[in-house]
């Protein structure tokens, strides 16, 4: 700073303070006087990331594919990792347009986030954000407890999916390897849900015949009840048609109830120490096993310390993870056989794994149940109910019962069409099979992802294997299964007997109160 008397310029402590004090005061004054430039939008914090292109359009126009479905954190079947979600909108696409669940109710919500647990969103989600609820830890804990007898059952469809997780072509049959892997993992007994699929046919087929003959005062058409996603769909959207649902439980729940009663008794094992696991191609099965009424074994044994009939459900994908984590070389495993007592099955049971299969199996045995004679060979290849057509129909003339008209739907959007017909009293059918997932269980919500979203091409490859397995089976009809004959002789008596009702049949609950129906 220049001094008044022309002395040499020197920056002192005093002059330094003066300079900065003055500058600050001037700055603050100017600022307070409103001389600073106002902020503009580009200076706002944030905005360094991205959202998908479909949302970056000017104006307020709605985007066709947007947002995502709501998933309750307590959902027993599916879970979403928000950090992986990219808001592509595909989960809504499948939930709303294929399954007709999302958006088929009026807002506001009541007390439920409507979900049928089918898990198709886990197949459509491209980033893997939506997946099944992981229950493998529970199973590992049980396997590591020497006190607990861990029994496992495997669904018809898992054997045509599991191999894909180990690099085998889509639709490879790995039934024997799956049994071997489960034994290696330490399961004490490995049973086949196919056995109870045959049993389901005996119970459900008998029920159908009784409805047809009028012996059972329940309405026609009879609806299948093996798919828990479909059952919950009826409970939500068609509660007035609940009596059309077969009272027969799904094969999984039948097997679970029998593991803790029939098997426990035969082997002399304390049912309280049995842990019942099932390997399913399905996420809805996780919900089904937790339904409060699925405690038939406990009720039958009058012992509330017996845990639910099925303690835990693992999807095919979870089983694959367990096998990989255990370091088992799946592809080099030698084929092994299911354990006896509930391990035998027929071709009619294996086709439960694809759309139309339950219907075909039921028709084969309905023929026998009505006529007491073996069905003709053409019923072993009921082509009208096979294939990927959304709604399929057929008719079979059974001597003594006349023409039985049947229909098959897969994907709940297709089921809706048939149900609206039933509701209107215009359904020409006697028996309708519905599977929630397009293609049936072979592409269920818990199966390995062969393509995203799933295509009919991959569905057909798995289905082809299933029909080939049926064709190769020495026994093609459920009623020919020797273990089925044995269980009726030793334990159940006859189909729909008192004990069969107790263990193998169930009731349904209307869920109409949990939302406001859509205004038409």
């Amino acid at each position: 700073m220049a001094s008044k008397k022309g002395r040499a310029k020197k920056l002192t402590r005093r002059s330094f303070l003066k300079l900065f004090g003055g500058a600050s005061l001037a700055g603050i004054s100017l600022n307070l006087a409103g001389c600073s430039k106002p902020l503009t939008a580009d200076r706002a914090a944030g905005g360094e990331g991205w959202i998908p292109t479909q949302y970056n359009i000017p104006g307020n126009w709605p985007t066709q594919v947007r947002g995502r479905v709501a998933i309750d954190p307590t959902n027993p079947s599916i879970h979403r990792d928000d950090q992986k979600c990219i808001l592509c909108g595909q989960c809504i696409e499948v939930c709303q347009n294929v399954q007709t669940v999302y958006g088929n109710y009026e807002l506001p919500l009541k007390n439920d986030l409507i979900c049928i647990h089918c898990g198709q969103c886990t197949h459509w989600c491209p980033s893997g954000a939506i997946a099944e609820v992981d229950d493998t830890a529970k199973v590992l804990k049980a396997l590591n407890d020497p006190e607990i007898h861990v029994v496992v059952q495997t669904a018809p469809a898992t054997r045509v999916g599991l191999g894909e997780e180990f690099g085998l072509p889509v639709g490879t049959n790995v039934q024997g390897k799956q049994v071997a892997a489960l034994k290696k993992l330490g399961f004490d007994a490995v049973f086949d849900t196919n056995f109870t699929a045959d049993l389901t046919i005996m119970e459900e087929g008998t029920e159908l015949v009784k409805r047809l003959t009028g012996e059972l005062k329940e309405p026609l058409p009879q609806l299948t009840s093996c798919c828990p996603g479909w059952v919950k769909f009826v409970e939500y959207f068609y509660p007035d048609l609940i009596h059309h649902l077969s009272s027969a439980k799904s094969p999984q729940q039948m097997e679970g109830a029998l593991i803790k009663t029939y098997y426990a008794k035969a082997k002399g094992i304390d049912p309280k120490k049995i842990y019942s696991v099932s390997i399913m191609p399905c996420t809805a099965k996780k919900f089904e096993c937790q339904r409060p009424e699925m405690i038939s074994a406990s009720k039958h044994l009058e012992d509330d310390k017996v845990t639910p009939d099925v303690d835990v459900v693992l999807t095919t994908r979870e089983l694959a993870r367990m096998i990989k984590s255990a370091g088992i070389d799946f592809n080099s495993l030698a084929d092994e056989k299911y354990d006896r007592l509930m391990g035998e099955s027929t071709g009619a049971a294996i086709i439960f794994g694809t759309t139309g299969g339950v219907m075909e199996a039921a028709v084969r045995s309905a023929w026998y149940l009505v006529t007491n004679e073996q069905p003709p060979a053409e019923l072993w290849n009921l082509t009208p109910v096979r294939g990927m057509e959304g709604i399929k129909e057929g008719a079979v003339t059974i001597p003594g019962a006349g023409e039985v008209r049947v229909a098959v739907a897969h994907g709940l959007g297709n089921a809706r069409k048939l149900m609206d017909q039933v509701r209107a009293g215009k359904s020409p059918y006697h028996f309708i099979e519905v599977m929630a997932c397009p293609g049936g269980c072979e592409y269920g919500g818990g199966q390995p992802r062969a393509s995203a979203p799933p295509s009919d091409q991959v569905r057909e490859r798995r289905t082809k294997t299933i029909y080939e397995m049926d064709a190769k089976c020495p026994l093609r009809n459920s009623h020919d299964n020797p273990e089925i004959a044995q269980i009726y002789k030793d334990f159940l008596g006859t189909p729909m007997s008192h004990i069969a009702h107790e263990l193998l049949h169930t009731e349904y609950t209307s869920r109409a109160d949990s939302f406001t129906p859509k205004k038409v």
């Binding site: 001094s3 008044k4 002192t12 005093r14 005061l25 603050i28 004054s29 600022n31 307070l32 006087a33 409103g34 600073s36 106002p38 902020l39 503009t40 939008a41 580009d42 200076r43 706002a44 914090a45 944030g46 905005g47 360094e48 990331g49 991205w50 959202i51 949302y55 970056n56 359009i57 000017p58 104006g59 307020n60 126009w61 985007t63 947007r66 947002g67 995502r68 479905v69 709501a70 998933i71 954190p73 928000d82 950090q83 979600c85 990219i86 808001l87 909108g89 809504i92 807002l107 506001p108 919500l109 009541k110 007390n111 439920d112 986030l113």
Partner: protein, 267 residues
């Protein structure tokens, strides 16, 4: 609603139709994605029900919006109601009024934005906010204040905020504030909602407006907040600050000059 968004002269807002929300939380994910906000593993695990019980309603420096689940009673039955929580973007924001460095400012289009390069870190804004929205980056070496910016940059490109653009049910609507108020009144009448638009008058009016079929106080809304604009409380005397500052400077300068007139410098 108006399809031409953000012409300079209009002020925009968002209407939140609480009964139309299904709790999918697309909005909070969109906020994270667009603003590149970090995910905290512990907070990610929190559910909408749990966040609703937290003191900060689930808002953190990296969580600018939160969907919170309340279970108020309607017709004697407990119902699920999801409430989107974020900055209300007051028409006369207390944060901007408290900020002497002008790091917070209200844009004429609606958003209350923040520029960290102007911030001195005094956090007066946080004390001033009547809704306790603002959050500080306590764990950072050079921290800033964080809150929803209403996607001001998107607005400048005629795009609606990220959260609104991803909402699948129409629970969020972006538009001119006047039109939104009219729409809100229409929906209140048609759907039998509570006759109250939260944000129409609260804190002197906010850019975000809420309508609901159950009382707001059952969903932790600050229904006791004043309807007087927050800055108006102190405006009367605070507006004298520049005058006092300049006068004080003039007085001190005068004294300095007067003193030096007769004195040799000390050094």
């Amino acid at each position: 609603m108006s399809s031409a968004v953000n012409t300079q002269s209009k002020t925009f807002g968002v209407l939140v139709d609480i009964p139309k929300c299904i709790g999918c939380e697309s909005c909070s994910v969109a906020c994270k994605l667009y603003n590149d906000l970090k995910w905290d593993p512990k907070r990610k695990a929190k559910t909408a029900r749990e966040r609703a019980q937290e003191p900060n309603k689930g808002l953190w420096a990296d969580d600018w919006t939160s969907i919170n689940l309340y279970e108020p009673e309607k017709n004697g039955q407990k119902v699920l109601r999801f409430v989107k929580t974020q900055c209300f973007h007051c028409l006369e924001p207390a944060c901007a009024s408290a900020c002497f460095s002008k790091a917070f400012q209200k844009l004429p289009q609606g958003p209350v934005i923040y520029d960290q390069s102007l911030c001195v870190g005094c956090r007066y804004c946080m004390l001033a906010c009547p809704f306790d929205i603002l959050k500080y980056e306590w764990e950072k070496a050079i921290p800033g204040v964080r809150k929803c910016q209403m996607c001001a940059q998107r607005g400048a490109n005629f795009q609606i905020p990220a959260c609104v653009s991803v909402c699948p049910t129409g629970a969020l609507t972006c538009g001119e504030r006047d039109e939104l108020l009219a729409e809100a009144r229409k929906r209140i009448k048609e759907n039998g909602y509570i006759d109250h638009i939260f944000g129409e008058k609260e804190a002197g009016g906010t850019s975000w407006l809420y309508i609901s079929d159950v009382p707001f106080d059952q969903m932790r809304f600050r229904t006791d907040v004043t309807t007087r604009p927050m800055p108006s409380y102190s405006e009367g005397y605070m507006k004298l600050t520049p005058l006092v500052g300049i006068s004080w400077a003039a007085v001190l300068t005068g004294l300095y000059v007067y003193n030096n007139k007769w004195k040799e410098p000390l050094d």
